[in-house]
Amino acid sequence: MSAAALTDSFLERAPLALRDWVVNFLPAPLQWLGHHLITIIAVLAVFGTFFAFTTIAERKLLARLQNRLGPNRSGLPWIKGLTLFGLSQPFADAIKTLTKEDIVPAAADKCLHFLAPVIVVAFSLMTFAVLPFGRHLIPVELDAALLYFFAAGAATELAIFMAGWSSRNKYSLLAAMRALAQLISYELPLILSVVPIVLVTSTLSTQNIVLAQGGWTFGFLPHWFVFTPWGFPAFIIFLVAALAESNRSPFDLPEAESELIAGHLTEYSGFKYALFFMAEYFGLTALSGLGVTLFLGGWQAPIAALQFIPSYAWFMLKLIGMLVFFIWIRGTLLRLRIDQLTRLAWQFLVPLALLNVGNAAFWILTASWSGPLQLIRWAISLAIIVIPFILLGRTLTAGYAPRTYRYAP
Amino acid sequence: MTPLHLCLLISSGLFCIGLTGALARSNTILVLLGIELMLNAANLNFIAFWRFGPAPSPANGMIFVLFAIAVAAAEAAVGLALIIAVYRHQKNIRLQEANTLRG
């Protein structure tokens, strides 16, 4: 089937056709509104249920990592004894958080206390507007999409500060300060790891970036950016920074249970706590969505032959893959201390990201090499990034090495 | 009343609020924030003229605003660092008392 036919296969256009069919019911002036309202509702519905099932997937996967069964008890309210392998657990959680009593500390700053979760969820939801879910499915076609993504992401810090400050409790204030230090120091590596992509594709719009990753060599090697010598390190830095940005596993300092009880969320309960929880997951999904778009070829199929599967299915598969990787990391790694965390960001990730930008520039300049030169090009570009990685790695872990022990005579 | 007039009115209003704020308040931080407001008002003008101006060359206004934002950011950072330094020294940040120049 020719590529064109493929791109317009029925499945591909199905969601769009549905939307246009609904929209032309509305009178002319309202059509614009209807058009956007439907996309918003679609995004919210899809990612709302996606959030619900990520929570349950996380608990089941973590359980399996630890050789135990995850939640599998919650069945439907009417049918006795029907346990859906825990699939109805998120709805049970939702009802629980809705009905939980919502305590607001007396000394708290009422309006800020209420506003913080709202802003957190609002901004992390706004980041979904720019992610290309399918060949034609992009909610908002912006040419400065990446900048928009980071602008919306940066605003969530403000809300965390408000949460910390408004609950008037020393613990949460300390944790809010820590969270801010962490978020700010990891914003730079995050943006710097995206700069090479913008350099190579010379566009900020996410749809063009995904289009730039089309095409396959020998039919099965996709042109995703993750398989290029500068793309892979950028991907690793992006992952580490995304982990830190969404307060997950090795960097979940703000809610470090063993230290400050629940960080800036100590004074929240009931639905507001669920909102924060939801915002964290939305942030995580958005960041991994961005990771998929930039490095793993968005909705591009991995192998040429598999193109008949609709593009949004590929996006969802890769997104789930990324989330499983995040959960896997959460089940394994220990937590870093606040000073090690910032030292890692400033002394290790930022220099490497800058080097990677240089590496991408080298990659563009030598685009014209061909044949044997191609190998040399790969070698040099790899050398540019791997050698400093080892050197910096050695300085970072200067005094630390597993020791050997002597025994008493 | 073309849209340009409206924009100019809004930006001048913002400018005056920034000015009164900077003059009236005794807390140095708020003075600094007042100045930030004035800078924002200026940026507003640039965009207004760029959008509704006679022969809008494609990117002039926008670039000017970007540079203005960058400078404002640098200025805010240095200003606040100054405030922290002054605060550490004299334990409160009332504008009037910051008159001793000795270290």
Partner: protein
């Protein structure tokens, strides 16, 4: 926008006024969007709401130590407040009069189509030098700011009583 800015200036509680100010910055960004300058709007949000608000809030937090009510209206500051108000009011009058009086040629109806690539090219070619200077200014300012804030801390323990 004007409402939040005015409120920011008048409020007693420092944190509330700072947050309202951030709200006014966000509304300025909304204005840019309305005017069609997307790039400027996102830059504004990223720089102001993302970064400067953090610096402001950190500064406000660090300097709240023995905070006597900062807006106790002594006679001195009351007098200054009234003079400031009068100056502001008359300036507003003059400006609006000038604006109303001036006539502007017919405004272009459609927003000029600017793509990010165009801005990028423009920045690099015609304003390349300006870009570099801005880079230098920013780095110097930030290093200066950190040094200023940091050195104070080191010196402080020695002269502690």
């Amino acid at each position: 926008m004007l409402g939040s800015a005015a409120a920011a200036m008048l409020l007693r509680n420092l944190i509330h006024s700072a947050l309202l100010l951030i709200l006014s910055w966000a509304s300025v960004a909304a204005f840019y969007l309305w005017a069609g300058a997307e790039f400027a709007a996102f830059a504004q949000i990223l720089v102001y709401v993302g970064a400067i608000s953090m610096v402001v809030l950190f500064a406000v937090l660090l300097t709240r130590q023995n905070q006597v009510a900062d807006v106790v209206i002594e006679p001195a500051s009351r007098k200054r407040a009234t003079t400031a108000l009068t100056v502001g009011a008359c300036l507003a009058g003059i400006l609006s009069a000038a604006v109303v009086a001036s006539r502007f040629p017919a405004a272009a109806v459609t927003a000029p189509a600017t793509t990010v690539k165009l801005i990028g090219l423009e920045l690099m070619e015609r304003h390349g030098a300006a870009l570099l200077i801005i880079g230098v200014i920013l780095t110097v300012a930030l290093i200066g700011a950190t040094l200023l804030a940091a050195t104070e801390a080191k010196r402080n323990p020695e002269d502690a009583p």
